[in-house]
């Protein structure tokens, strides 16, 4: 009995302890990111991911940082390593949280990063994959603004490339902006990006 008591104490105090540590860690990571120390933020997310392997958010953010900061990277060795790492953590996040539209959107962005790096080489190869990922995400979460906006932005890019009218995609972006206004992330650490970007894109392209 005594042993059990101790165990319970240990467990409860450990979870309480680690919960607050998790929150502190996540908050600290977002602060670092805001302060443009995104690689330090990524390192911290990595430590959290290692300590808390059942949570999909830390690997999601590690991947997101690596993807976002690969846009504009010209050094192929660095880009390959960075996107390789991002893919590893996207897969880790997918393994923890199946059928998660947020992760699928990030996966689509991962493929878009390659297309942006070398359209000639990767455009034809990855475009169908990107389209398929957004399609899948849309089925899972038809009213998630990240999905709606991500898809609209990608479709708009393709339409611009082929010189087709942008009106239908402007409507989609408008819809995303509406969805953003009522969107409540599940927790303070769940993805909440994108609203201002959607607005500025809408102002820039859709008049």
């Amino acid at each position: 009995m005594k042993k059990l008591t101790l165990l319970i104490i240990a467990l409860v105090s450990f979870t309480g302890f680690s919960q607050s540590k998790y929150e502190d860690g996540m908050r600290k990571a977002f602060e670092l990111w805001k302060a443009e120390k995104h690689w330090e933020a990524a390192n911290l997310f990595e430590r959290i991911a290692a300590a808390d392997p059942e949570n999909w958010l830390p690997p999601y953010y590690i991947a997101q940082i690596n993807v976002v900061y690969s846009f504009g990277e010209k050094d192929e060795t660095k880009l390959t390593a960075q996107l390789g790492k991002a893919k590893e953590y996207i897969n880790a996040a997918k393994a923890i949280s199946k059928d998660n539209a947020e992760i699928l959107v990030l996966d689509a962005l991962w493929h878009t990063a390659w297309v942006a790096y070398d359209g000639q080489q990767y455009g034809m190869k990855y475009s169908p994959k990107v389209a398929q990922l957004y399609q899948q995400a849309l089925q899972l979460a038809p009213d998630n603004p990240h999905v709606v906006f991500g898809k609209a932005e990608w479709d708009m890019g393709s339409a611009q490339f082929f010189g087709q009218p942008l009106d239908p995609y402007c409507k989609d972006i408008q819809r995303a902006i509406e969805l953003f206004s009522t969107f409540k992330p599940e927790s303070e650490f769940h993805p909440s990006y994108g609203e201002s970007r959607a607005k500025s894109l809408s102002e820039k392209t859709c008049k």
Binding site: T5, G16, Y22, T77, Q121, G163, Q164
Partner: protein, 725 residues
């Protein structure tokens, strides 16, 4: 009850205490040190932490780190940084001060040396791709044939009337083709003299092509010169239907996907009759070329592996009369061929870094030939089974080994007015191989392999060692060396008449230099090949009365240069290949060693692609140059002593995207209508003046035009067939 209340109270107390603990109860230990590269350069931004805890920090500009922890006892310190191997150390935290940690570079990174001697890759997954999968089908001269695209690479010889791959002084039979690691027994569509053949399999089912012009892995055998490895797509992106309407026929494809599996089917019908009616060629066609082909790939994903099954069937039928100097009425030739090929493979992980690859293929090929009054009926059944294991000991050391079995059963009936013969052979070859890859550092890697083969037919055992090393000479450049022994049995042309032979063999010596940077690749390769035990016979054509031996030999040496640049000119991608070849051999019916007619000294290919955004078009061009090829002039002393004039052909193509899913495609081969001569046929008897008359062997048509419309229907409306063209 009482106890549990106490417990609860205690729990609550401890929890409150627990949240305060970091600041009060536990003693703090400081962990500190410095992280550098092997050469002492400090690493900024490395992630240093205790495994399983939140305690850690990133290193500063001098590579220093320092953080506090409340952990005690033995812990694991982890140091990770992009492009370096993760470092782990277990020790008591009290010992973790003033550490100096040197990270080893990750040899998986893009700038690690690669063993490149002899190998060209066309895939997105490899570190150094000279061709991209799309190139196979957007190269102007290739007409959607993967073999045609590979003929623009150095090391190949322009033998335009044949269409197969001739590599570094070797004949076409010295190149073997594999799909998903399993052998293809009859990779080319059947054809006849002076009409180029094509690869049987449609390029859009493959997403990786490796073309080795020498020095290849011990996993592959029964090829004296070259192997071509094709990998089918693991997982198609989406469900779709492809429709193609072409000036020479039509194509229909469909892909279906399920949760764990997918199926792609593709059917093609080719009929040259309308084309020949509009543009008659030099042959007199009784039955213009007609072919039906169907292909299917089924894939199923298991938890730890992938099963793929590929099947292809095609039927070819044609009859024509070709000019012949000895036959004023022409040579009548007809052919009917049915070919079925199936290939199943499984690749999966077994845990503990073991991987298994297994598979088999089976071919049934039936050919009915009619040459003037002779009828020849061929029946070939072949099978290949293979099992391979791969163990990854670390990023730096890998071992693979396996065994395979080839079975061939060949039968031929020959009959004309006076003769009826039936002959054939059964051939079983058993082989085992082992190979290890060791990457000593980012700069230096070695591959060592050994292959053993046993032929039941000859009761002969052969052993072939293979070795390659690669050394990085600079940031963007490297040198590779390769050596290998290669054995191959004489083909069915000889085996059907004589079994008392042995395997032919070559040794390859290859030196390769490669420079890659910013979408530019430069490769130069020098090689020497020694041929021994080549097949020899004492009649003009191999027949039942010939005496066969393995007394032939020969050599081939040369230099191959490749340059590709996708950077210097905006929207332009081009490559240039040049090959120099010096070869002589004594084989088949050669009375003396000579340069065979399929080997010429200089070959040059220039391929360019230009994307015009405003026209939504890709325009491509390619030029092929081949210096003259040898032929025997019986009016002069000597054998293969004269050379034809050189070969030139310029091709253009234009792909226009009508919309995302509709493409119009146009191409013309030999746009400038160069009058090429592939060789000469001399009369078998001299005329009244004692002179042997001759006839130039010219292509059936100097030019070829192609128009196609390709339409893809898919759910999201973005996919198209540009990758098929």
């Amino acid at each position: 009850m009482k106890t549990s209340k106490t417990q609860l109270a205690l729990v609550t107390f401890m929890t409150i205490l627990g949240s305060m603990l970091p600041f009060t109860a536990f003693c703090q230990t400081i962990i500190s040190g410095k992280v550098t590269e092997n050469n002492g350069t400090p690493i900024l931004g490395a992630n240093v932490y205790l495994e399983g805890t939140y305690d850690g920090v990133s290193t500063d500009g001098d590579g220093n780190f320092s953080f506090e922890t409340t952990e005690t006892g033995t812990q694991t310190l982890v140091v990770s940084f992009l492009s370096f191997e993760t470092f782990m150390m277990a020790a008591d935290v009290s010992q973790m001060q003033g550490l100096v940690i040197k990270l080893r570079e990750d040899v998986n990174s893009l700038d690690t040396v690669v063993i490149s001697a002899g190998t060209f890759e066309a895939s997105d997954n490899s570190k150094v791709s000279v061709l991209k999968p799309l190139d196979v089908v957007t190269t102007a001269s290739a007409l959607g044939d993967f073999v045609g695209a590979l003929q623009t690479l150095p090391g190949t010889t322009t033998v335009s009337e044949d269409g197969r791959l001739f590599v570094r002084g070797g004949d076409a039979g010295e190149t073997q083709i594999f799909i998903d690691g399993i052998r293809v027994f009859s990779p080319y569509t059947p054809s006849t003299n002076n009409i180029p053949t094509r690869g049987r399999y449609s390029p859009f089912l493959f997403d990786g092509i490796t073309f080795s012009t020498g020095g290849y892995s011990a996993e592959y055998g029964q090829a004296l010169s070259s192997v071509l490895l094709l990998n089918t797509i693991d997982e198609p992106d989406q469900e779709k239907t492809d429709i193609g309407i072409m000036s020479v026929g039509g194509a229909l494809g469909n892909t279906q996907k399920w949760n764990k599996g997918s199926l792609s089917v593709n059917a093609t019908y080719i009929n040259l009759a309308p084309y020949i009616a509009v543009f008659p060629d030099r042959n007199d066609w009784e039955k213009p070329f007609e072919a039906y082909a169907g292909e299917a790939v089924y894939r199923h994903k298991f938890e730890n592996g992938l099963f793929k099954m590929y099947a292809a069937f095609d039927a070819t039928d044609f009859e024509l009369t070709q000019e012949d100097i000895d036959l004023p009425e022409g040579l009548d030739f007809k052919l009917k061929n049915n070919n079925f090929y199936t290939n199943a493979s499984y690749s999966g992980t077994l845990g503990d870094s073991w991987k298994l690859l297994g598979g088999g293929s089976f071919t049934v090929s039936k050919t009915d030939l009619g040459i003037i009054d002779s009828k020849i009926k061929d029946m070939e059944n072949s099978a290949h089974f293979k099992l391979k294991f791969r163990k990854r000991f670390s990023n730096r050391v890998k071992l693979s080994f396996g065994a395979e079995q080839f079975i061939t059963d060949f039968n031929e009936d020959f009959n004309n007015e006076s003769v009826f013969e039936n002959y054939g052979f059964q051939n079983n070859i058993t082989a085992a191989f082992a190979e290890t890859d060791v990457i000593f550092s980012k700069k230096f890697a070695v591959k060592l392999g050994l292959r053993g083969e046993y032929s039941e037919l000859f009761d002969e055992l052969t052993a072939s060692p293979r070795i390659s090393v690669a050394y990085k000479t600079g940031k963007n450049s490297q040198l590779s060396l390769a050596y290998g022994d290669f054995f191959q049995q004489p083909n069915s042309e000889a085996l059907k008449f004589d079994n008392n032979l042995k395997a032919q063999n070559t040794q390859h010596y290859i030196l390769n230099y490669q420079y890659t940077a910013n979408n530019r690749i430069f490769r130069a390769e020098a090689y020497r090949k020694e041929y021994n035990d080549l097949l020899l016979f004492d009649t003009e054509f191999a027949n039942i009365d010939s005496n066969f031996s393995n007394d032939g030999d020969g050599y081939a040496q040369g230099i191959d240069i490749f340059w590709r640049d996708n950077e210097s000119i905006k929207n332009v991608d081009y490559w240039i290949s040049y090959s120099f070849l010096d070869t002589e051999r004594k084989y088949q019916n050669f009375p003396v060693a000579a340069t065979p007619s399929f080997a010429n000294t200089h070959n040059l290919s220039v391929v360019g692609k230009f994307w015009i955004e405003d026209w939504k078009s890709q325009i491509g061009f390619s030029h092929q140059y081949g210096s003259g090829r040898t032929y025997t002039n019986p009016n002069e002393p000597g054998f293969l002593q004269e050379k034809t004039k050189s070969y030139n052909s310029t091709s253009f193509n234009w792909a226009y995207l009508i919309s995302q899913q509709k493409i119009l495609y146009f191409s013309v081969n030999n746009a400038f209508a160069f009058k090429n001569i592939n060789g000469y046929q001399y009369a078998s008897v001299p005329d009244a003046n004692g002179n042997f008359n001759r006839r130039a062997l010219r292509p059936a048509a100097d030019q070829f035009f192609f128009i196609g419309f390709f339409w893809t229907i898919s759910d999201d409306g973005t996919d198209n067939q540009l990758d098929k063209l």
